[in-house]
Symmetry: C2
Subunit: 153 residues, 2 copies
DNA sequence: TCAAAACCCCGTAGCAACTACGGGGTCAAG
DNA sequence: CTTGACCCCGTAGTTGCTACGGGGTTTTGA
């Protein structure tokens, strides 16, 4: 199937059609040849490249990093430390995010347990908890230090 | 400290100053009184509300949900099921994200182990792996089924 | 045979939640 | 009296798409 239209390519890779055009716009995917009617005609090359992008995106890598990998693959020389760095960076991001999400889950679970069944506004344990926590964290009396901030990604 | 300028409020809550103005623009935070020179003059009320928002954001709740909670607190009647729903939804989101991130970490760790030290482009295990995985996943021969797609959040 | 459905084109605007920029006014300290 | 820290405003940029509007083309099937 050497001459795919955009819909074929999209179906083959599982990437949304609009997203394919978007990748072309930001030059992540090179502009394909056109059929006489103006339709895009993709080759095997595009299919592979897009599949690669899609796979990296499934690993949640930012497009900038993916671009790096693709550039790296394109140029002949060099060692692969840039690749390693990209993967490491991604792994770091994922681990940091995991850490903060685990903490988050704990907090939310605790919060949720404050109110097992719907009650009136005044008695809602969750709201009380939220207000109290917010107050404790940030009330003017003991705030102002450079970082009372919780870790955010 | 009943008359804070925007910088004071920002410091007291740990929220960036531009973000405070942003919250005002989108009407999450009500517009404060102004001093004769045009400076914003915030009250205790704003401090509490902003601290509440900040706390909810630390729980990664979307602003729309936070708005819901604030609205709920403002109006006298009603039971708190909307609050519960918001927290539940957030918990669901967090758990789903955790799940996908755990899978991600595994994949990335495996990927990383393919290349322990920098090598030439041609021998880089990571690149090989990525290309192979992408190819296996999405090559035209067995793609086209409605969902070969990995679960994305 | 011809009309409806499905596909393709393009450019632009919208989403979340900020962040940054540019260009200017105000205020306290040295 | 100037330097620096603070404040004002509006707008545009970020990331990775997704949606919209308004048009052309190709395929299908009655």
């Amino acid at each position: 199937m050497p001459r795919m239209k955009i819909g074929d390519l999209a179906r083959a890779t599982g990437v949304d059609l609009e997203t394919v055009r978007y990748y072309e716009r930001i030059k992540l995917l090179s502009a394909p040849k056109r059929l006489p009617n103006g339709y895009r005609a993709y080759s095997e090359h595009h299919l592979e490249r897009l599949a690669f992008i899609r796979h990296c995106r499934a690993l949640d890598m930012p497009l900038a990093d993916i671009r790096l990998l693709l550039d790296f693959m394109a140029e002949p020389p060099g060692d692969c430390s840039a690749v390693n760095r990209a993967v490491d960076a991604q792994l770091d991001r994922v681990r940091a995010r995991l850490k903060s999400l685990r903490a988050l889950e704990k907090q939310l679970t605790a919060l949720r347990s404050q109110c097992r069944r719907p009650r009136g506004r005044r008695e809602c344990g969750i709201l009380h908890e939220l207000v109290a926590a917010a107050h404790a964290e940030a009330c003017a009396c003991h705030a102002g230090g450079p970082s009372t901030r919780a870790s955010r990604d």
